[in-house]
C-alpha cells in the first residue's frame, strides 16, 4: 500500500499556493462531462456538492435523512474558529496552526493543519456573504469569543446554534444548485457499498430507504463526507442515524483507515440518567468560559450543592491548571472529571457527574448577560433535567463526541483508492489525537468549499476515464453482495433486538476503549467483541421486509459495521503503546497523571489495510515530521 501524502515541498506557508498552482485544471467546457458523487450532506458534503456544481461539474448528492438540512453538523453549538485577528489580541494564521498541532498532541500532519488555518479566514467571509447571522457587535462588526482552550478570541458564533446556521448556509447553496439543475439530490438513500473498477472508485451502491430498492450509481469520482463513528459507543452525542457504514465499506474495498482509536470525549455533557437512555446531550463547552467546575472536597458528600461551603469545594481544574483553569482542552478536562469521579467525589444519583457552576458569573455579570450568552443552553438543560441552572449548578459528565480517526487521505484529501476523496469528520486529517473546540466546523467547510473542489479537478484532469455503466459486471456483483447481506440480517430471525446488541457493544467499547485504556482490558475487549459479533449474526431479530421502509433493517446494517470497526479501534489502541491526546493508555502517564507521549516510537499515522474476512488487518505507518512546531509535553499549567 502506497502512503505517499503528496505534501508539497518548500516553506509551509507557501505549500497550498504551490500545490494549487501545480494542479492540473479541467477545461471549463469539459467540467459538465464529469459526474461526481458526494455522499453526505453535512458541512463537508453539502459545501463540496454545492461548490463542485458551481464550478460546472455534474453532481449527485446522497443523504440518508429526509432532507440534506438534517445532517448532524446542524447540532454543533459553540462556534467556528478563524484566524481573523479581528479582536487585535495577537491571533494569526501561525498561531491557529500552532494551537491546532499542539492541541492535537503532535499526531497531525503539519502541512494539512497549516492549510486549514489559512483557509479559516475565507470560510468566515464565505459564510457571512451567504447570510449566516453571526453574532455582531453594536457597531455592526463580527463578534468573537474565546473557546475551548484558546487564549485568543477567534471563535465566531451564532448564539448556541452555529452549526445549524453554517449548515443551513451550505444547504441553501446546495439547493441553489439543485434549482439550477447541476446537483441531483438523493435524500433517503443510504450508501451501502463502494464500487471500484480497474483500481479506481467509480460509483456506489445505495438502498432507497422508502422502496428498499438496491441501486447502482456510476461516476468519475466519489466523495465521502459521511461524518464520524462515535455511535460505536451506542451512547454518544451524535445523532441516532450517524454511522460508519460508508467509510467502513470503503475500507473493506481498499481504503486505509487511519488512527481509529483517536476518539474525543467531550467534557460537558448531561450525565446519563437511566438505562432506557438513547443518546447523550452535549452542552456547548463555551459554558466553560463562565462556568466553574467543581466537586466536593470530601468523598461521598451528598449535600445539595448550595449547602456545600466554598472551603469544602474543589475547583480541581483551576487548582491543577492555574493558567488555563476551566478552559483546558477537552481531553484534559474529561480525564480529570473521570479521575475525581473514580475517587468517589462525583455528584448526582450515580456519582458520575461534576458541577458546572454559574453562581459567580451571574454575580459578576448579571443574569441578563448570562442569559444572552447561554440562554438556549440553559433552557435545554432545564428541559432535560428539570433543574434550573440559574439557581442550581449544572451536572455534567464526559461523553463521546467526535472521532479524529477516519479514512486515511493524502494532502489532496484522496484516500488510498484513487478517485475516492474523503472530507470532514470522515477523514483523519487535521486534528491529530485531539480536536480543539470550534475546529470541526472549520475543517468540514475548509475541505468542502476550498480544498476538494480543487483537488478533484486535478485528479480528473490527470487521468483518462473509460465509460462505466451501472449495468456492468462490477456494479452488479457489489449490488448482489449488498442484497445478500440484507437478506442475511432479515433471515437470522433470532431472539434479540438490534438495539440490545448495540447497547452491549457500546458498553464494551466505552469501558475498555473509552476515556482510558490498558493492554489487558483491550485484549479482553477484542475477545468480547468477536463473541458478541458472532452472536449478533446468529441471533439478531429484524422484522419486516427488505422492500419497504424498515428502520430496524437500516440500524441492523449499521450495527454490523460498528462491530467490525470496534475491533479495529481496539487493535489500534493496543498497538499505540503510548498516551497521546484522547488516547490515554494507563501504562503511560507522568507522575501527576498527564498523558505521556512516546515520540521515538509512535510519531506516525497508523493506517490499517483490510486484508480479508477474519484476517488481521495490516498496519502501515506514515511518519510524522515536525519542522515548525516542535513536539513538547503539552502543559496547560
Amino acid at each position: 500500500m502506497n502512503l505517499d501524502a503528496r505534501i508539497p515541498s518548500g516553506p509551509i506557508d507557501k505549500a497550498w499556493d504551490k500545490a494549487k498552482f501545480e494542479m492540473k485544471l479541467v477545461n471549463p467546457a469539459n467540467k459538465r462531462k464529469y459526474e461526481i458523487i458526494v455522499v453526505g450532506s453535512g458541512l463537508a458534503g453539502a459545501s463540496a456538492a454545492a461548490t463542485l456544481a458551481e464550478l460546472g461539474y455534474n453532481v449527485k448528492c446522497f443523504c440518508f435523512q429526509d432532507s440534506p438540512r438534517r445532517a448532524h453538523s446542524i447540532a454543533a453549538q459553540g462556534g467556528i474558529n478563524a484566524a481573523k485577528n479581528y479582536q487585535n489580541d495577537g491571533d494569526s494564521i501561525y498561531r491557529l496552526f500552532y494551537d491546532t498541532v499542539k492541541g492535537g498532541d503532535f499526531r497531525a500532519r503539519e502541512a494539512n493543519v497549516y492549510r486549514l488555518a489559512q483557509i479559516s479566514v475565507n470560510i468566515i467571509d464565505q459564510c457571512v456573504a451567504q447570510g449566516v447571522p453571526f453574532a455582531r457587535e453594536y457597531g455592526g462588526t463580527l463578534a468573537n469569543r474565546s473557546f475551548g482552550g484558546a487564549q485568543v478570541s477567534r471563535t465566531f458564533y451564532a448564539r448556541g446554534q452555529t452549526g445549524q446556521q453554517l449548515l443551513l448556509g451550505a444547504y441553501q447553496a446546495l439547493e441553489r444548485q439543485v434549482d439550477a439543475g447541476r446537483v441531483k439530490m438523493m435524500p433517503r438513500a443510504e450508501m451501502l457499498d463502494l464500487v471500484v473498477v480497474n483500481g479506481r472508485a467509480r460509483g456506489i451502491v445505495t438502498r432507497d430507504l422508502v422502496t428498499g430498492a438496491i441501486e447502482s450509481h456510476a461516476a468519475d469520482a466519489v466523495v465521502l463526507g459521511t461524518g464520524g463513528y462515535g455511535n460505536v459507543y451506542y451512547l454518544s452525542t451524535n445523532a441516532k442515524g450517524s454511522n460508519c457504514t460508508a467509510i467502513w465499506r470503503a475500507y473493506k474495498r481498499g481504503a486505509a483507515f487511519a488512527n481509529p482509536c483517536f476518539t474525543q470525549i467531550h467534557p460537558t455533557c448531561i450525565p446519563v440518567s437511566g438505562n432506557y437512555q438513547s443518546k447523550l446531550t452535549l452542552m456547548s463547552e463555551s459554558l466553560r468560559n463562565d462556568g466553574r467546575i467543581w466537586v466536593p472536597l470530601a468523598k461521598g458528600d451528598k449535600r445539595a450543592p448550595n449547602e456545600i461551603p466554598e472551603a469544602e469545594r474543589d475547583y480541581y481544574l483551576e487548582r491543577r491548571y492555574p493558567s488555563f483553569g476551566n478552559l483546558v482542552p477537552r481531553d484534559v478536562a474529561s480525564r480529570n472529571a473521570k479521575a475525581v469521579c473514580d475517587e468517589g467525589r462525583g455528584v448526582g444519583e450515580h456519582g458520575l457527574g461534576v458541577y458546572l457552576d454559574f453562581a459567580d458569573a451571574i454575580k459578576r455579570l448579571g443574569r441578563a448577560v448570562i442569559e444572552e450568552r447561554y440562554g438556549n443552553l440553559f433552557e435545554m438543560y432545564e428541559r432535560i433535567t428539570d433543574e434550573d441552572p440559574y439557581k442550581v449548578p449544572m451536572r455534567i459528565y464526559p461523553a463521546i463526541h467526535y472521532t479524529m480517526g477516519g479514512l486515511w487521505v493524502d494532502y489532496q484529501l484522496m484516500s488510498t483508492i484513487p478517485g475516492l476523496f474523503v472530507i470532514g469528520e470522515a477523514n483523519f486529517s487535521d486534528h491529530g489525537a485531539n480536536r480543539l473546540g470550534a475546529s470541526a466546523l472549520m475543517q468540514g467547510l475548509s475541505d468542502g468549499y476550498f480544498i476538494v473542489p480543487y483537488t478533484i479537478g486535478n485528479y480528473l484532469a490527470s487521468e483518462r476515464f473509460e465509460k462505466v455503466e451501472p449495468a456492468q459486471a462490477e456494479f452488479l456483483a457489489v449490488q448482489d453482495q449488498v442484497a445478500q447481506r440484507t437478506r442475511r440480517l432479515l433471515n437470522a430471525k433470532g431472539s434479540r433486538t438490534v438495539d440490545s446488541f448495540h447497547r452491549e457493544l457500546g458498553k464494551i467499547v466505552w469501558d475498555d476503549c473509552g476515556m482510558s485504556r490498558n493492554a489487558a482490558a483491550l485484549t479482553e475487549a477484542l475477545g468480547k467483541i468477536r463473541a458478541l459479533r458472532e452472536e449478533y449474526w446468529r441471533d439478531v431479530k429484524v422484522l419486516g421486509a427488505a422492500e419497504e421502509i424498515n428502520q430496524s433493517l437500516e440500524k441492523a446494517g449499521r450495527v454490523a459495521d460498528f462491530f467490525e470497526l470496534a475491533e479495529l479501534m481496539c487493535l489500534d489502541a493496543l498497538d499505540r503503546d503510548e498516551s497521546c491526546g484522547g488516547h490515554f493508555r494507563e501504562e503511560h502517564q507522568t507522575a501527576d497523571g498527564e498523558a505521556l507521549r512516546d515520540d521515538q516510537r509512535f510519531s506516525y499515522v497508523a493506517a490499517w489495510e483490510y486484508a480479508g474476512p477474519d484476517q488481521p488487518p495490516v498496519l502501515h505507518k506514515e511518519p510524522l515530521m515536525f519542522e515548525y512546531v516542535h513536539p513538547s509535553q503539552r502543559s496547560y499549567k
Partner: protein, 248 residues
Amino acid sequence: MKLIFHIWRQPARNKPGRMVRYEHANLNPDMSMLEALDVLNEDLILKGEEPVVFEHDCREGICGSCGFMINGIAHGPLPKTTVCQLTLRHFRDGEELVLEPWRARAFPVLKDLMVDRSAFDRIIAAGGYISIPAGSAPDGNDILVAKDDSDRAMDAAACIGCGACVAACPNASASLFTAAKISHLGLLPQGQPERDSRALRMVKTMNAESFGQCTNIGECEAVCPKGIRLEVIARMNHDFIGASWRAR
C-alpha cells in the same frame, strides 16, 4: 409510569391506516417521548410485531427530523419543545395519548408517523438563498450589519424545518416556514439584491406545492418549537406585494 398510546399505523403511502392501542407500564418520567416509543418498539419486536416508524435523528431539538401530533397538538403540550425533548414528566400516570402524523396534503404519510416533507426543500430551492459562489466573498467585516437586524435575522433563521407549523394550521399553510427564510435573508444587507425575486419565487412555489393560504390564525406560532413569530408572515406579505408591484 404507565401511559396508554393510540398510535396511527399505516403500512405504506397509499395503504389505509388505523389507530392502534398500546398500553405501556414500564416508563420513566425522565424519558423523552421518543425514548418511550423506543421502549415500546423493543417490546413490539420481541413480541413479533412491527415497530412503530417515526422520524428522528439528533434528539436535541435542532435537526427538525422528529415531530408528530400528541392529542391534537403538534409536538405535544410543552411550548417550544420538539417531541425528542419532551419528557414524560409532563404527563399524568395512566394518561391516554393519541399520536398521529402531521396531516397535510403537501405532506403525504409514508409510514406510521413518518411523512414526506420534501416540499420544504423545493421551497428553499426556489430562492431561499443568497447567490454567492465559493471564493467570491468580500472580507467578513466589509459587510456591517446592525446588531438588531442581525439578531432579528437570527430569530427567523432559527427555523428547523420540522413542519409543525403546517400540521397545526387549519389551512395546512407553509407560510411561517417560507416567511421565516424570506425574513432571515431579507433583513440582512447581503440578502437585498435578490429580495424581490426571492419573495416572488418562494411564495409561488409554496402555493404550487398544495399548501393552503394563511388566514392569520396563529396556530403555527403557538406550536413552533423555535418560537418563530407570526410577524415574519407580515414581512413576507410586505415583500411579496412590493415585489409584485415592482415586477408588473
